[in-house]
């Protein structure tokens, strides 16, 4: 405990010295977040300085081992760092699917060579990754995917189409689910890594109801994927044809992330803030805000309990599905209330005062929360079958 207090003091001092004041404010829009990659640019010097300080300290991925670019912090130390960063509202130094999704998969399933090679690149923000999961015919029923990789000895020839590939147009590499055995539904998928600049890869953004296009369609036309990138660096994660295990593992992470299980700002009470911004509240709106706050504060407790239980292995393996379901439904309600309290101001689409209609765009964006990473209906199905053990239909 004393060590942890010393670590806290040390961390506080380090943040004081290294986190520029401009980086101690909540993220307002996408340009406030640094995503790394070959084509990345910094919004300003403060963003660059903050990223580089964290990168050199291993704080882009604090809990990863030092030899893979992390700081090797224990879970307790990582929690202290999170708390201290939250205390000064420090922005994340680097956001990436490499950190959230591919990293955990490599840590769990990767070869030593893959870990040294790819994890260090991720930690240093050198390669921006995208995720190739869904296909036009395979959304929630992901295992029905059809993108096919034909075995050509020392390489694969990949053909097919992915959809909802977030930021594929900005990504350098893709981690992609590819069918490599047509006869076997679950044990015929391989989890492959390859460069988006490989000939035959094209992407096209999809315009959404929010007016933004974070998602893309991605096409693979005779894409030649080598089987190896060097000694002990195979192109696939896990075994060939066993990519579904990796995908399932990653979906768990994605659901935790989308559910905001960290008890973060998405699950906090909003009534008091609404009153400050909207003034006197209609009695029925006040009542709805109060009911929402009850649910949000209770959900925050669930988030805390869930994380505590995960640490000691007490949480049911399907619990992230429940958290994802409840958290995303709550977040949608939250934004409905923001819109209701905001009145006509919240409708403005391009005014400067609303930062380009940020509230309305975010409201529309949250409608995807209960679709992406598995729909609410799929989550409920998993809870029914795996936790309540109801009979399979």
């Amino acid at each position: 405990m004393a060590d942890l207090e010393a670590f806290r003091a040390e961390t506080r001092a380090w943040l004081e010295a290294n986190c520029p004041p401009e980086m101690r404010q909540p993220v307002q829009d996408e340009s406030d977040v640094y995503w790394g990659g070959r084509r990345a640019t910094f919004k300003n010097d403060a963003q660059k300085a903050w990223f580089e300080a964290c990168r050199d300290k291993g704080y882009t991925v604090p809990a990863w081992p030092k030899e893979y670019g992390g700081a090797g912090l224990s879970p307790a130390e990582a929690k202290v760092l999170r708390e201290e960063m939250a205390r000064i509202s420090a922005r994340p130094p680097l956001s990436s699917f490499g950190i959230w999704m591919l990293g955990p998969a490599l840590l769990h399933f990767g070869t030593e060579g893959q870990k040294k090679h790819f994890l260090n690149q991720i930690a240093r923000g050198e390669i921006r990754w995208c995720q190739g999961y869904s296909e036009p015919g395979s959304g929630s029923d992901l295992v029905s995917l059809q993108t096919f990789g034909e075995d050509k000895g020392d390489h694969w020839i990949v053909n097919g189409q992915k959809i909802w590939t977030s930021y594929a147009d900005k990504a350098d590499w893709i981690f992609c689910l590819v069918r490599t055995d047509k006869a076997n539904k679950y044990q015929g998928i391989t989890f492959m890594l390859y460069d988006m600049e490989t000939p035959g890869v094209t992407t096209k953004p999809i315009l959404l109801i929010s007016g933004n296009s974070p998602f893309c369609e991605t096409f693979f036309d005779d894409v030649k994927v080598p089987k190896s990138y060097g000694e002990d660096i195979p192109a696939q994660v896990g075994e060939v044809n066993r990519g579904w295990d990796v995908a399932k593992y990653l979906l768990g992470h994605e659901r935790e992330m989308i559910s905001g299980a960290d008890g973060g700002a998405r699950t906090s009470a909003i009534g008091a803030a609404m009153k400050r911004s909207a003034g006197e509240l209609d009695p029925l709106l006040r009542a709805e805000l109060a009911m929402f706050d009850v649910d949000a504060l209770a959900y925050a407790c669930m988030g805390e309990k869930f994380l505590d239980e995960i640490k000691v292995g007490k949480a049911h393996p399907a619990q992230p599905n429940m958290m994802k379901y409840a958290g995303t439904e709550l977040n949608k309600r939250r934004h409905e209330l923001f819109m209701a309290a905001g009145g006509s101001t919240a409708l403005e689409w391009d005014s400067e005062e609303t930062r380009g209609g940020a509230r309305a765009r975010e409201w529309l964006r949250t409608k995807a929360n209960s679709i992406e990473g598995g729909t609410s209906e799929v989550m409920l199905g998993v809870v029914a079958k795996r936790i309540l053990e109801l009979p399979g239909a």
Partner: protein
């Protein structure tokens, strides 16, 4: 503190689950006493057994002869009481009255606590005045009289009031009905002259009184805590009651949900187990998620209360409101998913619905507590 039970607490939960599952079971207690029209609505033998288990004095400090445990532990016992719909004066006596008596004089403690710990005494708490919980308003008067007080007024929804050896009464010694200050708590013994009961059976077969205080004369040592400054103690009693009722409500919700999920795995219609139907699976999974979230809020509130945190009172209302929503859903879905059999008296699921209704009202309903969350949050 992590939001799950420590090893000791998990052991207590196992003990409580076994005891309530056997001794406190629905057939052995609730139905037994109900079918006999029992005037207490609970069995004194079970209360005595609960004393032998150490449950009765669980919240009483060791220095006063109790176990000196906290609201987490009391909640563990209450959850099992809820799950088995066990009628007992545990919540009113061992949680609420015990929380009040922690602020009593040495004489007051000496007079009341041994009986509680031994399972010989039963206590009630008289706060509400009217059909809805509104503890901000106390109209019952206590006027100075000699070296004591003279109480006049009317109290409602005094659970176990007629069976109680002592009732903790919140009365006004100064100020107007809606004033924060000027409230005093009294320990009113059952045989006090002028104390009257109109005892009625409630929908869940429990007994509650409309209590009349018609010039009830009390000595000065009947005062619990400070004269005129009783609001602080009253708030502690209320928070203990809210969090305790939430814990019992979680037990009711889980008991009802378990029964329902079991039924979904057994009942066949259209040649299929009804649990195979997606419409029911999704509703069951939604219910599970609501009950789990409510349970997390309840454990958090218990821990904050035990830690003496400033956040405890807000979280007590969050827990009571959230459990009100979740348990209400659990019993309604329970009856609906059971279909026709769910409407029969023979089947237990309806008993869960009745108990939930009474608990939902006890110490403030969803609306009262959601409103309180808003007020405490500044809107």
């Amino acid at each position: 503190m992590p939001l799950y039970h420590t090893e000791d607490q998990a052991m207590l939960a196992e003990t409580a689950a076994q005891f309530m599952g056997e001794e406190g079971a629905i057939g052995k207690q609730l139905r037994h006493w109900r079918d006999r029209g029992c005037k207490d609505g609970f069995g004194h033998d079970l209360w005595k057994q609960m004393a032998e288990m150490g449950f009765t004095g669980l919240l009483v400090p060791e220095a006063d002869g109790g176990l000196g445990m906290g609201h987490v532990e009391a909640g563990i016992v209450l959850e099992e009481i809820g799950r088995n719909l066990t009628p007992s004066p545990f919540l009113t006596s061992s949680v609420m009255a015990a929380s009040a008596l922690a602020h009593a004089s040495a004489e007051g403690k000496g007079r009341w606590l041994p009986g509680l710990i031994a399972g010989d005494s039963v206590f009630a708490v008289a706060i509400d005045e009217g059909a809805k919980h509104r503890p901000e308003r106390i109209a019952t008067r206590a006027e100075k009289s000699g070296n004591g007080f003279r109480l006049t007024g009317k109290k409602d929804f005094v659970v176990h009031g007629a069976s109680a050896d002592m009732i903790v009464v919140a009365a006004r010694t100064a100020g107007a009905d809606d004033d924060e200050d000027g409230v005093t708590l009294f320990a009113v013994p059952k045989d006090a002259a002028g104390l009257g009961h109109n005892s009625v059976r409630l929908v869940d077969s429990s007994m509650a009184s409309h209590v009349t205080l018609d010039g009830v004369e009390l000595d000065g040592d009947a005062v619990i805590g400070e004269v005129d400054g009783g609001r602080t103690v009253l708030n502690k009693v209320l928070d203990a009651g809210r969090v305790g009722a939430a814990a019992e409500g979680i037990g009711v919700a889980r008991g009802s949900m378990d029964m329902t999920v079991d039924y979904l795995k057994q009942r066949k219609q259209f040649g299929k187990l009804i649990g195979e139907f997606q419409a029911l699976q999704h509703r069951a999974a939604h219910l599970y998620s609501e009950v789990e979230i409510a349970r997390a809020a309840t454990i958090k509130a218990q821990q904050l209360l035990d830690a003496g945190s400033e956040q405890a009172s807000l979280m007590a209302s969050v827990a009571k409101a959230k459990v009100g929503k979740a348990a209400g859903l659990a019993v309604k879905e329970g009856v609906q998913m059971h279909g026709g059999i769910g409407m029969t008296d023979e089947y237990d699921i309806g008993l869960y619905m009745k108990r939930d209704r009474a608990l939902a009202e006890f110490m403030g309903d969803v609306y009262y507590h959601a409103d309180r969350v808003a007020r405490l949050s500044g809107y």
